[in-house]
């Protein structure tokens, strides 16, 4: 459905050093550097997938989204989406996709939200029946009932973002590109947005490509992640596999009672590290490849009376952070 092959894109950036002398010099001779935003990016996405597209700031996520939505023209490489090359057959192609840029707005500032929706209906030539159905579904699932008559300038960020997402789906697109859809939202709005994305993916089979810095978004939505850094594709895989491969560190919290005369002692097993411990509780990090959780429990239970044990997997946030570190991003 989506096929990117060897996409590269560079930008020419004018630069000069600070100071008067250099400023005057730049009047006559400008120095440019080429910033390689994307370098040989290839991946393919099947219909109905939700893919998390991640990477640190400036990695090239937004650039990729803009190429895939036909806004930017890459320097080289090919891209086929739904049988179209986005930047060549832009007008026909964009009818099939919806795009949300979390940091920008597509709604008309001065008029009620519904006016923007009506304009979009005409722009995308949505039939009255389909428009009504979509609008009903969107107002219900995104909880827009009270705000759809309000001018956009009076909406809160969370309300506006929900309207932005609704605006991108009025024409029933097959693919939805979301560029940081939860940026700046509070917990309630974030959860509403996530639920909604899951709903349209399940019920309408919309393929979703999502960039975000909030790993909870990824965890809640994406089965697959694609990670880029400095314009290069680094990781492309299932989230579960990634967790198995990189998320091998688990955190144990142990509550216990000490036997008279016997103290808790850090277990001397490979890959086991006690973060802190007191007379009735210890927090232990375990590298599950080197030592098994059960072995650690065995050692501790021989020392003290166990009351409670909780084992937590490493949060995805840390896994990603480890990944960034591994690739020196």
């Amino acid at each position: 459905m989506i096929e990117l092959n060897g996409i590269s894109k560079s930008f020419k950036v004018a630069r000069r050093s600070s100071g008067m002398k250099n400023a005057i010099k730049a009047l006559f001779h400008r120095e440019y550097t080429h910033v390689q935003a994307l370098q040989d990016i290839s991946f393919s996405i099947e219909p109905g997938e939700i893919v998390g597209y991640i990477g640190p700031n400036g990695a090239g996520k937004s650039t990729t989204i803009k190429i895939m939505s036909g806004i930017l023209v890459p320097d080289s490489g090919s891209c086929r989406i739904l049988g179209y090359t986005p930047w060549q057959d832009r007008v026909n192609y964009v009818k099939q996709i919806g795009v949300v840029f979390g940091q920008r707005t597509q709604l008309w500032w001065d008029v009620p939200v519904i006016d923007s929706f009506d304009l979009l209906r005409d722009i995308y030539d949505v039939s009255p029946q389909a428009y009504r159905d979509n609008l009903d579904l969107l107002t219900e699932t995104l909880d827009l009932t009270g705000i759809i008559q309000t001018p956009v300038r009076q909406l809160s960020l969370g309300q506006r973002m929900r309207c932005e997402i609704a605006a991108s789906l009025l024409h029933s697109p097959d693919i939805l590109f979301l560029d940081e859809p939860t940026i700046g939202l509070d917990a309630v709005s974030k959860i509403a947005v996530r639920d909604f994305i899951r709903t349209i993916n399940r019920e309408r089979g919309v393929t979703v490509i999502l960039t975000t810095h909030d790993m909870h978004d990824i965890e809640a939505l994406a089965k697959r992640i694609i990670m880029i850094g400095r314009g290069k594709l680094l990781v492309d895989g299932k989230l579960d596999e990634l967790r198995d491969r990189f998320g091998r560190r688990k955190t144990m919290t142990v509550d216990y009672e000490q036997h008279p005369g016997r103290m808790f002692a850090p277990p001397e097993l490979p890959g086991v590290e006690v973060a802190n411990w007191s007379k009735d509780r210890a927090v232990i990090h375990v590298d599950t490849v080197q030592s098994r959780i059960s072995d650690v429990i065995n050692v501790i239970s021989s020392q003290v009376e166990l009351l409670d044990v909780t084992v937590e997997s490493q949060p995805i946030e840390e896994i990603i952070l480890d990944l960034y570190k591994e690739y020196e991003l």
Binding site: G70, V73, R90, F101, Q103, R104, D115
Partner: protein, 269 residues
């Protein structure tokens, strides 16, 4: 397809009609400005031999009133900051993922703005000017055909003007700031359109330059058709020239727009 441009046009048009106070202030300004200009020309004409002038004083007066009434049809500096901001802040990203031709879309928007503001302003000025005492009054067109030709040429002039102004917006893709292009288009364009002094009053060498450029077809030509200074046959051939200019400018504009878009950089990540 046409429905989307129509819908945008309607939204902009209604939006423009909201600004009634601005229109009222504009009407007042233009009314006084028109009076001042007429007084200046009266003084000039009093000093010169009226018969030897290329335009009679009533024709000049009519020219000035039409200029004031249809100011938003003919001034190049009427700008849409929203479009400039779209380009310089990168919000153009959304505009580009719509299934519309960007040139036509913007054209419809600019046209709607000019039409709605002219609609609010033109009739009060024309009615006022009609009832003014001589020599300040607006003279009617010599006959019905002149009036019809005026309406046609004025509307075509509006279309030509919007297609000229599109180049200002396209240039911002390259320069990132509208200031330079606006200033150039304003000063040069409006002078050459006969906004400062009517074209017939310009020296011959300047008139020779003016006739080969598109600007005079937006203002000077329709106004002189109204006053009968340009006759029936000349007006008809002038309308043909307007059409040719319109087609050329739109084709060139679309080409320039396409080139600008292939090298577009969406500002701000």
């Amino acid at each position: 397809m046409m429905r989307s441009y129509g819908s945008l046009f309607r939204l902009r048009f209604n939006n423009g009609l909201q600004y009634r106070t601005a229109a009222l202030a504009g009407v007042a300004t233009q009314f006084f400005w028109g009076m001042i200009l007429i007084m200046v020309y009266r003084a000039f004409y009093a000093m010169a031999d009226g018969a030897s002038m290329p335009m009679s004083l009533p024709q000049i007066v009519t020219y000035i009133w039409l200029q004031q009434a249809f100011l938003t049809f003919i001034m190049l500096w009427h700008r849409d900051n929203e479009l400039f901001q779209l380009i310089t802040t990168g919000n153009i990203a959304y505009e580009l993922c719509r299934p519309t031709d960007l040139y036509t879309f913007w054209y419809a928007k600019l046209l709607a703005q000019r039409l709605s503001s002219a609609l609010l302003r033109c009739s009060p000025i024309l009615i006022f000017a009609w009832f003014l005492p001589s020599p300040y009054e607006l003279s009617p067109p010599p006959d019905l055909s002149a009036l019809i030709l005026f309406v046609v040429s004025l509307l075509l002039g509006l279309l030509v003007l919007v297609s000229i102004s599109m180049f200002i917006y396209i240039s911002v893709f390259y320069t990132m700031s509208p200031v330079g292009s606006l200033l150039m288009f304003n000063v040069v364009g409006e002078f050459l359109a006969g906004m400062v002094i009517p074209v017939p009053l310009m020296p011959d060498w300047l008139q020779r330059i003016v006739v080969v450029l598109p600007f005079r077809w937006t203002a000077d030509f329709p106004f002189r058709v109204f006053s009968g200074h340009i006759g029936y046959h000349e007006a008809l051939s002038g309308i043909m020239v307007q059409l040719v200019w319109l087609i050329c400018l739109i084709l060139l504009g679309k080409l320039a727009m396409r080139r600008a878009l292939t090298r577009v950089v969406v500002q701000g990540g």
